[in-house]
Amino acid sequence: MKKILVLVVAAMMLLTASASAVTIGFSQIGQESDWRTANTDSIKAAIADEGWDLVYDDAQQKQENQVKALRNFISQGVDYILFTGVVSTGWDEVLKEVNEAEIPLILVDRMPEQTTLDAIEYVAAFGGDFVEEGRRMAYWAANYVEKIGKADQEMNLVILEGTTGADAASGRQEGIMEVLENYPNLKVIASQTGNFTRAEGQTVMESFLKAHEKIDILLAHNDDMALGAVESIKAAGKDPGEDIIIIGCDAPKTAFDAIIAGDMNATIECTPLYGPFVTDAVKKLIAGEEMSKTIIHPEEGAFDVEGGIVYSADGRLSEKAADVIDSRLY
């Protein structure tokens, strides 16, 4: 009896599922980091909350897998396609096929290169603003230096760059340099790639410390490299967060832990939580609203030990890491 009941319920669920209005195909890059996992989880959860169907494909960092996935979505006749590309080039052909099949395309996170964006049709785009993240790191640093009363002193600054050639690395570097021009007392004495990894952040910082007597500020293109650098700074007999001001980017939970423990000073957020954006966009499209082709950047914060430090040109104030850590999902 119970079994039959279960079967009936299952059948009803199947019916309602197939009766749901929307099927979304999502071609994800892979699961290379906690950030990416949080990104996938957020989108999956938001779509499940709406009761829509999701056809999910994990491309395992391979472009050819993504091309295959997109073609599968077309032949399955999904209603919407979500897409984030592992690289920025080589998408013209397959995305034009998506256009020809008249499936609305929504771009998330990593965008194809500008010429591709100009050549194809898409209904909405949501992505991070790496240049702005770089600017914010530099603003936070400059304002913090002012707050601790060292604005008139010459401060030596080192940068741990992300993977050479990656959008996130070049964008953040551009933003940092742009803002630092206004603060001649913050002098960049070294800048090298740490490939976005903890291990290389650690070894590169170790060399920075040997090559330069006085380092006051470290800007790391992501928090993993900052966390690696913390170990090197400790191993040099210095106090991270005190002797050297450390600012990272991304804002995962591990960075919050480090800030609360006093090992890092601040982290600039780069949110992976695109789920709600995507479902909102789809709802608007269903309602017949038109969305713009410009890339929409999510609201992002900055988090540090005490909060209240200006981290952007438009005067946003940082939040206290300890206050928000419990609500962090990743």
Binding site: T164, Q192, A199, Q202, K210, A211, G237, K253, T254
Partner: protein
């Protein structure tokens, strides 16, 4: 006379030129900035005193590659190759952090530390990596699969296994006994250097004080002849690959301990190539046969010295790869047979000339 010949043979050997190359690179660093070779004693926040300086970094950071390259030397001496070592580094880290995770969940929560998970966090990764090495060895010895293909399986699959073990997540631990492996020091010497020293000496003793090294060379030079003369080549192959897996495991523990975390994507990435390069620069031929463990240590130090030099002098990020390749190219050209012969010949000619004058 005999002595002069031996001297000449050493001059002709790749190992000699590897040592020359290492000194040249260090010399360049020293000329550019004498600080490059300075070593001092520093006191850390917890009161421990450690040796501090670039030369220490070179020894310390070369540990991971040196350990793996010890095994790789024997693998290559057998005429094989093992490209799964980098993935095994990731596997070891994943397992270790999985066990530590039981006790220490987050950065700031001091857990109820017991000996048990720590013991497992060290022992299980080493055992699993050794078994994976044995798996490689069995494929090669029993199923006669070519080494590069056999080890390709775990090179591709290993990182996947590491991902599955940790559910695709990156764990962080602040458990100090584990952090000690990569970050601690004894009498001021970083612990990874001590581990490496012990392992290098142990492998050298095992290989040279028993007949094992001779067996390896014999199988590497002519497997069929070795088998016909009664050597169990299959067993030797399996022992060597198991050892390489085990050493990759130690390397993986050091790597993950240094970053207090597992990193299935990046841990040990490219280590197989660095290890092979270290072996080759050290004078062991890819065709198998004779090998030099000491040469491999020098090779590994050369690779690390180049990396350290590049970071120390702040070569721009875009140029790092090309710059490293350039130095390695110079080292390898210096070691190539025609160049070595040409240099040795010039020396011989000079000796002959001197001899001629004496006769006259």
């Amino acid at each position: 006379m005999k002595r002069k010949l031996a001297g000449n043979a050493f001059l002709k050997s790749k190992l000699f030129w590897a040592i020359v190359a290492e000194f040249l690179i260090l010399l360049v660093g020293f000329i550019l900035r004498p600080d490059f070779l300075s070593i001092q004693l520093r006191t850390l926040a917890d009161g421990t005193r450690v040796l501090y300086g670039t030369p220490i970094d070179i020894f310390n950071r070369s540990a991971e590659i040196t350990l793996i390259a010890m095994g790789m030397t024997l693998v290559i001496a057998l005429g094989g190759t093992d490209i799964s070592v980098g993935a095994l580094v990731a596997v070891a880290g994943a397992i270790a952090l999985k066990f530590l995770r039981w006790d220490v969940l987050i950065y700031n929560t001091p857990g109820d530390y017991t000996v048990k998970p720590y013991f497992y966090a060290i022992a299980v990764p080493l055992i699993v990596c050794a078994l994976m090495g044995l798996f490689n060895g069995s494929l090669i010895a029993k199923l006669k699969i070519q080494p590069i293909i056999a080890t390709l399986i775990l090179m591709v699959g290993g990182r996947g296994i590491a991902q599955i073990i940790t559910n695709g997540k990156q764990f962080t631990t602040q458990y100090s006994p584990f952090k000690f492996i990569g970050n601690g020091s004894i009498l001021g010497i970083p612990f990874p250097i001590i581990i490496t020293l012990v392992v290098v000496v142990a492998v050298m003793v095992f290989v040279r004080k028993t007949s094992f090294g001779m067996f390896v060379e014999s199988v590497g030079i002519n497997p069929s002849a070795s088998r016909l003369s009664g050597l169990k080549s299959g067993t030797i192959i399996m022992i060597v690959y198991t050892l390489t897996g085990f050493l990759s495991g130690i390397s993986g523990l050091i790597y993950s301990s240094r970053i207090s975390s597992n990193d299935s994507n990046n841990a040990g990435l490219g280590y197989e190539m660095d290890a092979i390069l270290a072996v080759v620069i050290g004078g062991t031929s890819m065709t198998g046969g004779k090998f030099s463990l000491f040469g491999t240590v020098v090779g590994s130090l050369i690779i690390r010295t180049i990396t350290t030099l590049v970071m120390y002098f702040g070569v721009v990020s875009e140029a790092i790869m090309a710059f490293k390749a350039l130095i390695i190219a110079v080292v390898i050209v210096l070691q190539s047979e025609p160049v070595r012969n040409a240099i040795a010949k010039r020396r011989e000619r000079r000796h002959l000339n001197i001899g001629g004058e004496m006769h006259a």
